[in-house]
Structure formats: structure tokens, C-alpha cells
């Protein structure tokens, strides 16, 4: 056995450069192109979601003042620039929906799953390239349907991103019918896209690893994407099933969630959160993975406790399935069940602690290079901890009585999702941009963007803890209705202003992203002196990735190894002492 560098039978792809434009860039089966397509798709929704948030914050900070340029919105949304309560509810709903389903999830899973998996495991492409293309082109109509909801009569879905029935089940309660239906349809379609993607990722990681890429030599980003793909595969169908039932309640008069005819509103919540909690880990695990890679690179040190990092990922992935009830403590669910869910939820802090302390252990006695990706990654750890610790308050079912459905939850959401996932995404985009586009991003602009975002993010979201503890309810159109909230209005203003500055700071990212694409410095093969296989091909890599299948000689984090002069030792670099890896010969 054991000859490395087997010519790839999939060299079918090598004639690819003769493909016409449309096959190469639009209906492409190349995982790298699909990854970039997902990137553009989801950044667009990130921007939209951010704009919706800006409108919400205007209303919350300045409830009586007309919104600047708000007059361009139609009467049904904001007459004279003042948002209507029903439109505000749509904004909350769609902000959550866009961010969770159309921005962060595709960014992490769609973009980095696609781009990194084959490159990091040494495969020429995904196991099923055409399925991969289908997965993107199914997501597009889902996005279009979701956008279309804004333009239909009755407005867009307005029952929150959690769409609690019966509010969402019967147009009678919200006046929204078509909007809610489009919302459900779109999520069901997007679900199909995600499931196809996950099938592909799992098969690829299991079956297409290059010789020598054993399970415990996989980079943590790939481990995280693997666990995430399993969660996507098994959680999303639950949402699809539930969405279909709710859709039927809306359209053909079924009674699944209708209490007047034997249906159970709580069933929706159970199904939604049985999907929903794994979903939030879908949104954080890949972020943890890429951050592990970047922190090792930035610290020039092997990841501290690689094996326990892997086991922690698996533990989070599994525990994530048995905690869903913590969203339902106050729902009227069986109180004994509530206690059980509290304990399981608390336990999730343990694997998370392992991860946090191991990241710190990685930085300890390192030789830390604070490049832009590293800045974002360190910020990720710092912010995720805040979000995670606020999760512990809510995990206590007793204290959750008080803070459930307040801005404390909103603060938690944004510390884990923005402070966590989005910072990791910014880190990952800046880290792999050179590989994706063959150009370096501007590091000065990157640093300016990082610092502004970091500062204004905290100014905007940290105070939400305090108004939440003051009892400020979430999904509240006009806080000035309540006497006890009026003293908090100055904080609300402060938050809103910080948010506008936060939004403005993103301009630096947009400029950097677009300008570098055309004008950036040409990227070398391995600009960050990293160890992963993806750095052994040109930037950007050709179709098929390598001429010869790479062979892997060691783990992914051999930084500062005493074996070599340099402070990095790539997985693909063969030292004299290395033997060729032994792999099975088999049909693929």
C-alpha cells in the first residue's frame, strides 16, 4: 500500500477551465465558488437584518419622532415616518429571521462549511458536487420568498422569529396571512437546502479525508462543522415538519395548534425549540471551530488540550438536544420537567468552560500575533463568555421567572450571536479572504473596523442587561407606555445611538471587502504561516484543488515545534523522519 500522492480520479475536473462563464460562476459545482456565492448571499441578508435593527432602534430610542427618511416607507408601514406597531412586530420577526436563518447560519455553515471542508481534509471537492450546487440554488428562492413577504397585503410575519402559535396560526390574531405563509414556506424550502448541504458535509468528512488525515488530525474547524452538520441534519427536519403543520393550520384549516379543537399550542413550542436549541449551537459551534484554528495560528502554539476540545464539541452537540425546555420554563409546561431541563442546561456550561479555558491555555505563553483575524477571535472569546454567563442566569428556572422575555434575553442573544458568532465570522472572513479571492484585505481598515465594532457593540448591548433586569420586556413597540420603564428611556436612547454608530462602523468592512477584491495586494500561498492543507495550494485554488492528492503527516496545530526552525510545521510538510501515511484503498 502506502504510496501517497495518488493521482485523483476526479481529475475529470481538470478540463474545468474551459467551462463557460455560467457553468463556472453561476451554476457551478465547485465547492469554492458555491462557498463564495453563499458568502455574497448571506452578507446581503446580514446588511438587511442590520438595517431592520436600525429601524427598530429608532422606534425604541425615539418613540415619538418620525424616523429620518422614514417617509419613503409606505403608509402601511410607517405613516409620516412613524412606525406602526404591527410593522414593528414584523421588523422584530424579520430581523431575527434574517439574522438567524439567512445571515449567520449560511455564513457559518454555507460559506465556511463549503469552502473549508474539502480544502482542509485534502479532497478535490465535496462528495456530491451537484447536490451542493442544488443546495445553494434552493436557498435562493427561499430568500426571495422571504423578501417577498414585505410586499404582500397584511404585511410580513409578525409573530416573532419563534412564531408561537396560535398567534401565528390564525390570521385573525395578527391580520397577517400571506406574510406568515410565505415565512413558513420559505423556511421549509431553506430547510431542504440545509439538509442537502449537511448530507454532503457529513459524507465528505467521513469518506473523503486524504491519506493520513485521521479523525484526530482534523482541524477543530472541521470537527465543529462535522458536529454542526449532524445537528443541521437532525434538527432542521423537525422545523420543517412543524412549519408544514403550521402552514396547514394557516391555509387548509387543520387544527394542530388550535386549542379550540383539540390542538396544542405548546406542541409548537416543543417542536420549535427541539429544533431551536440545536439551532443556536449550529450558530456557535462552527464559530468555535474557526476561532480555535485562528487562535492557534495567532498564538503560534498548538491548541491546548486538542482532544478535550473535540470531546467538548461532541458534548455540546449532544447536550444541545436535551435542554430545549429552558425556553419554556414559564410557558405552563410541567414544572417537574422544568427542573430537569434546568439541570441539563446548567451542565452545558461544563463543556463550554473547557473550551474557553483551553483557548486561554492556547494563548498562555504563546507568541501572539494580533492580526485582524486574531483580534476578532480574542474578542469572540471575551464576548462569548459574557453571553454564556448570562445564559447561566436564565438557566436557573427560578430567576428566569423574572427575566424571561425581557431585554436580558435580548442581551444574551446578541452577546452569543453577535459577540460570538459574528465576531468569529469577521475573523474567519479576514483569515480566509486571501485564499478565497487571492488578495489580502487591508489590515489598517480591518483594525479600524474591529475596534469601532468592538466598542460600539458593547456600548449598545451591555446596557440591555441592565434594562432587562429592570423588567424591560422584549418585543415591545413603545416602552413609554409603562411608568416603570420611563426612567429607562435615557438608556434606550443611549443604546440606539450606539447602534447607529455600530451600523456606521460597518462601512469600513464593506469598503475593505469590496476594495480588496479588486485592489488588494496579491496573496501568497500561505500568508498567515498556517498549518492547514488549504495553504498548500495557490490562492485562490484551482478547480479540483490539487493536482495530486495531498498526504498528511501530523496534527493541524504544530506551531513552534522544536522539530523545525520556523514556528509552524504544516500538516502537508514531509520531514525526513515522517513515514508515508497508510490509508485504505477503496472505491469512493
Amino acid at each position: 500500500m502506502a504510496t501517497s500522492a495518488v493521482p485523483l480520479e476526479q481529475a475529470v475536473h481538470s478540463e474545468a477551465h474551459e467551462l463557460p462563464f455560467i457553468r463556472k460562476y453561476i451554476f457551478s459545482t465547485d465547492h469554492k465558488i458555491i462557498g463564495i456565492q453563499f458568502l455574497l448571499f448571506s452578507l446581503l441578508f446580514l446588511l438587511l437584518g442590520g438595517m431592520l435593527a436600525g429601524m427598530m432602534r429608532w422606534q425604541l430610542g425615539f418613540p415619538d419622532a418620525p424616523m429620518p427618511v422614514g417617509t419613503i416607507l409606505p403608509e402601511t408601514m410607517a405613516p409620516d415616518g412613524i412606525l406602526l406597531p404591527e410593522f414593528y412586530n414584523s421588523l422584530v420577526t424579520m430581523h431575527g429571521t434574517f439574522m438567524v436563518f439567512f445571515a449567520i447560519m449560511p455564513l457559518l455553515v454555507g460559506v465556511f462549511g463549503n469552502y473549508l471542508i474539502p480544502l482542509k481534509i485534502g479532497a478535490p471537492d465535496m462528495a456530491f458536487p451537484r447536490l451542493n450546487m442544488a443546495s445553494f440554488w434552493i436557498a435562493v428562492p427561499a430568500g426571495i420568498l422571504m423578501l417577498a413577504g414585505f410586499f404582500v397585503e397584511g404585511g410580513h410575519a409578525a409573530a416573532g422569529w419563534t412564531a408561537y402559535a396560535p398567534l401565528s396560526a390564525d390570521p385573525e390574531w395578527t391580520g397577517v396571512s400571506t406574510g406568515q405563509q410565505l415565512w413558513l414556506l420559505s423556511l421549509a424550502i431553506l430547510g431542504l437546502s440545509s439538509i442537502l448541504g449537511a448530507t454532503n458535509y457529513i459524507s465528505t468528512i467521513v469518506n473523503l479525508r486524504a491519506p493520513g488525515m485521521t479523525w484526530f488530525r482534523l482541524p477543530l474547524s472541521i470537527w465543529a462543522l462535522f458536529i454542526t452538520a449532524i445537528l443541521v441534519l437532525l434538527a432542521i427536519p423537525i422545523l420543517s415538519g412543524a412549519a408544514i403543520m403550521l402552514f396547514f393550520d394557516q391555509t387548509i384549516g387543520t387544527h394542530f395548534f388550535d386549542p379550540t379543537d383539540g390542538g396544542q399550542p405548546l406542541l409548537w413550542q416543543h417542536l420549535f425549540w427541539y429544533f431551536g436549541h440545536p439551532e443556536v449551537y449550529i450558530l456557535i459551534l462552527p464559530a468555535m471551530g474557526v476561532v480555535s484554528d485562528i487562535i492557534a495560528n495567532g498564538s503560534r502554539k498548538p491548541v491546548f488540550g486538542y482532544h478535550s476540545m473535540v470531546y467538548a464539541l461532541i458534548a455540546i452537540g449532544f447536550l444541545g438536544w436535551i435542554v430545549w425546555g429552558h425556553h419554556m420554563f414559564q410557558s405552563g409546561m410541567n414544572p417537574t420537567l422544568g427542573t430537569a431541563f434546568m439541570i441539563s442546561t446548567m451542565l452545558i456550561a461544563v463543556p463550554s468552560a473547557i473550551k474557553v479555558f483551553n483557548w486561554m491555555g492556547t494563548m498562555w505563553r504563546g507568541n501572539i500575533r494580533l492580526h485582524v483575524p486574531m483580534l476578532h477571535s480574542v474578542a469572540f472569546v471575551a464576548m462569548f463568555v459574557i453571553g454564556g454567563l448570562s445564559g447561566v442566569f436564565m438557566a436557573s428556572n427560578t430567576f428566569d421567572i423574572y427575566i424571561h422575555d425581557t431585554y436580558f434575553i435580548v442581551a444574551h442573544i446578541h452577546y452569543v450571536l453577535f459577540g460570538g458568532s459574528l465576531f468569529a465570522i469577521f475573523g474567519a472572513i479576514t483569515f480566509w479572504y486571501p485564499k478565497m479571492f487571492g488578495r489580502m484585505m487591508n489590515s489598517l481598515l480591518g483594525k479600524i473596523h474591529f475596534w469601532l465594532t468592538f466598542v460600539f457593540f458593547n456600548l449598545a448591548f451591555f446596557p440591555m442587561h441592565s434594562i432587562g433586569l429592570g423588567g424591560h420586556m422584549r418585543r415591545l413597540y413603545d416602552p413609554s407606555q409603562y411608568q416603570f420603564l420611563q426612567p429607562m428611556q435615557p438608556i434606550n436612547k443611549f443604546i440606539s445611538i450606539s447602534v447607529f454608530l455600530l451600523l456606521a462602523s460597518q462601512i469600513f468592512f464593506v469598503i475593505n471587502f469590496i476594495m480588496s477584491w479588486f485592489n488588494g495586494r496579491k496573496a501568497p500561498e500561505n500568508p498567515w504561516e498556517d498549518n492547514g492543507l488549504e495553504w498548500s495550494t495557490p490562492s485562490p485554488p484551482p478547480h479540483g484543488n490539487w493536482d495530486k492528492s495531498p498526504a498528511v503527516y501530523r496534527g493541524p496545530y504544530e506551531f513552534s515545534s522544536p522539530l523545525v526552525e520556523e514556528d509552524f510545521l504544516p500538516q502537508y510538510r514531509k520531514l525526513e523522519t515522517d513515514e508515508e501515511p497508510v490509508a485504505a484503498t477503496r472505491e469512493t
Binding site: 415538519g241 387544527h255 492528492s549 485504505a584
Partner: protein
């Protein structure tokens, strides 16, 4: 034990699942199907336990004999499917084709019978939202012979069996495609991934029906 026949030129990879990609992919996909049906079947169980009074005894509204026949049909289509697979393993092209054709026909017949069953039920007045006002069944319910309201029963019955039927129909379409390829001689003892993979899906759908039939029509 890996499959004996060689599918594609061998390459060196880590051992993985020790089966070829398409088979692994189908099994992985079936995992998501399990969860999809969990959402539907689980809801059925939960709703039924929560509102037992909305369920009529199986044979009251539904036609168990017809569906028993239908169940038998689906079991037959499974055996024809697996026979097709056994034939291609032995490179018996004729048998492969005809077993596949049989599977397609029986599968389509299943869908046909289900359509017929639905149309009968609708005719009698049983629809996803419950009784049709003024229909035969509504009359009997008014006389106390049937549950007063079967809204939730209708909802879960149609959604569950409907989505199963949808899966069978999708299976029939894919199988027709495989059959067409079989007639063009695309499968051999050396490479018959398509037959095996569609077979897995087909048997899975049969398996789901076995569960559905029991909990919907018998319990």
C-alpha cells in the same frame, strides 16, 4: 464488510464509513427523514394522548381492509425492489429490468389506492379540518355514534399519510428514472450504485408505512 463489487477506480482515502459515497449519503439523508417523520408521528402520538376523545375507533371512519391491501402492496414492492438489486448483483439484466418495472407499478398502485381512499373519505365527509358540515359522517356524529369533533384527528391523519404518500410518489419518480437507466443498460454487477441507493430509500418509506399503518389504522 465492504460491498464486494468495485464501483469506481480505487483511490486512497482514510477508511471512513467503509462504503461508497452514495450509499453513505443516502443513509445520512435517511437520518434526516427519520427526524422529519418524528415531527409528524410524534405530534400524532402527543395530540392523540392529549385529546383521545377526538379519535374514532380505527374501523369507524377509515377503511382498514383497503389499507391492509395497500400495506400488502407496499411490502410486495419492497421484495420486488430487493429482487432487482439481487439480480443486478448477478448481472442478470433482464431480471433487473422487470423487477424494477414491477416495483414502479406496485408503487404507483399504492399511491393510486391512497388517492382512492382519500376521495372516499372526503366523499363521506372526513377532511383535514374535521367533518364536512351536513355530510354523512357529521350526521352520525350528531347522533353520538362518532366523536363530536374530529378536527385534530383529520389534521394529523391527512398530514401524516399525505406526507408518506408524497414520499412514495417521489420514490416512484426516482425509480422510474432508475428503471429507464436500467433499460439503457447502465447498471452492472460492477456498478449498480443507483439501484442500491434508491432501494434504501424505497425500503425506508416502506418501513415508515409499517409504523404508520399500525398507529393510524390499527390502534
Amino acid at each position: 464488510m465492504a460491498h464486494p463489487a468495485v464501483m469506481r477506480p480505487p483511490v486512497q482515502r482514510e477508511i471512513g464509513a467503509d462504503v461508497y459515497n452514495e450509499k453513505l449519503g443516502m443513509w445520512v439523508f435517511l437520518g434526516s427523514e427519520v427526524m422529519f417523520f418524528t415531527a409528524l408521528i410524534g405530534s400524532y402520538i402527543i395530540l392523540r394522548v392529549g385529546a383521545p376523545e377526538a379519535w374514532a375507533d380505527p374501523n369507524e371512519i377509515l377503511a382498514v381492509p383497503i389499507t391492509a391491501v395497500n400495506t400488502f402492496l407496499l411490502i410486495c414492492s419492497s421484495v420486488t425492489m430487493v429482487k432487482a438489486f439481487a439480480s443486478v448483483q448477478e448481472d442478470n439484466q433482464e431480471a433487473l429490468k422487470w423487477w424494477l418495472v414491477a416495483t414502479v407499478i406496485i408503487g404507483a398502485a399504492f399511491v393510486g389506492v391512497q388517492m382512492y381512499e382519500y376521495s372516499q373519505l372526503v366523499h363521506e365527509g372526513f377532511v383535514p379540518s374535521g367533518y364536512v358540515p351536513g355530510s354523512e359522517l357529521a350526521e352520525r356524529a350528531a347522533h353520538g355514534e362518532l366523536p363530536a369533533s374530529v378536527g385534530i384527528y383529520g389534521s394529523s391523519f391527512y398530514t401524516m399519510t399525505g406526507f408518506h404518500g408524497f414520499h412514495v410518489s417521489a420514490g416512484v419518480i426516482c425509480l422510474s428514472f432508475v428503471t429507464w437507466k436500467a433499460f439503457r443498460g447502465k447498471y452492472s454487477a460492477a456498478d449498480h450504485r443507483g439501484v442500491e441507493v434508491i432501494g434504501l430509500y424505497w425500503h425506508f418509506v416502506d418501513l415508515v408505512w409499517i409504523i404508520l399503518f399500525t398507529i393510524v389504522y390499527l390502534i
